[in-house]
Subunit: 138 residues, 4 copies
């Protein structure tokens, strides 16, 4: 099955919905239950030594899960994060960050996704995240 | 026991260490194992309807835990977040956000804090966070 | 407000619903949004050195949250655990274990409780748990 | 690389170290950073309707992570669970349960594993678990 929302539509939604700090991240893949975003790291995302900050990684995990849900439900802005659990495994060092979300479960009230965050070009996972969203009753 | 770092010293450290998006948050209390930060919400922290965004709350929880660790260890920039688990309980709506961290454990390798995030003036907890930091070997 | 279920009723329910390994634990307090259980430690709960095992603590946290939900909703066996996050802070050593749950949120679809596990007689928290239950649509 | 401990050695260790309620679970695979356990469900593991209980799944996730660590470090009984985060995705119904752990990270002080629990014969994940163990200083 294909995604209900294309990467272009997802990016158009994000540009309209969020503010300037988001304009360095873009959706690069939208498939059924699967989304990938890429963030070009700017000064506000970095710590001394070129490390991508923890908050940057958490924010990206949250966003890419939002997108993964859209692949199944279409654009549903009223879904909200219920829980996020992140384990920082290794330093994330690079000019860009890749966040990949795969839906583990999409029920009537909850969606649960597994997200991997890594520096672009690296095959090692920097952080591993489980993100749970509440699906509002329609 | 008093904190090893005063609120003033903590704020001076934060101003030097981080970049512009942090300049709306300040440390307002530093006690032994206990820290409180206050964030004046700006456009980059808000979602339509005046909701304080999830990422804003996660970032603040991460920062105030960092501060709570400083109250015991002094300024130790090499401590890094290992795990963060956040439950969003209620919408956080207000002009400012209060984040309060209490250390539950400070061992040789790990520090674990409990953090409550709420809108200033509200007695209801918007999000509850457990943040774990790794303490590097000295 | 008082609990919708008394400690006696809770214990009667547990005795009927679960099997023999549970008969060492009992509900000792049921108040609105607040429940306490006590487990008399048997060989199956202990590790060498008298440590109360991790699984014992997790199981007790799960049960006492179930009870805390009953204090508000009455006996609702169809509620099921959705997520459990436990941090083991200190060894739990003792002849009995106390588990205390306080509901942080009770919504239409989710209940979230904070649980502290400690050895009876100790004022130090052995493990801290956040337990989330799904409330089925009625 | 092969595991430092074979399935036979792992089972011999478990038989000696733990007590009777464990004798229905066995290690069926030990590879480098990868372990699988199988539990034959008994009355104490089941809820009405043939559901494998949450505590059974949490306990198994904890054990199989312990085994996954042994594949890299050899038999190291002093490693202890630091954190466990479980998401129950679907009911687990079956006569036996399979738990599979893969180490995501093995550092000097922490090991983090991803665990999937499913009913034997099912391709759907019943629960997804992230288990963190502390590695004691040697």
């Amino acid at each position: 099955m294909t995604s209900k929302v294309t990467a272009e539509e997802a990016n158009a939604f994000l540009t309209k919905a969020f503010n300037s700090s988001q304009n360095r991240s873009e959706v690069i893949l939208m498939e059924d239950g699967h989304a990938i975003m890429r963030l070009k790291a700017g000064p506000e995302h970095l710590r001394p030594g070129g490390y991508i900050s923890g908050p940057t990684q958490m924010t990206l995990a949250d966003s890419v899960t939002y997108m993964a849900i859209f692949t199944r439900l279409g654009i549903t802005p009223m879904t909200v994060t219920s829980n996020l659990n992140i384990n920082f495994l290794r330093p994330c060092i690079g000019e860009a960050v890749i966040a990949e979300a795969k839906l583990m479960k999409l029920g009537k009230t909850l969606a649960v996704a597994e997200v991997e965050i890594r520096a672009e070009g690296s095959d090692k996972v920097a952080s591993h995240v489980i993100v749970t969203y509440s699906i509002p009753a329609s």
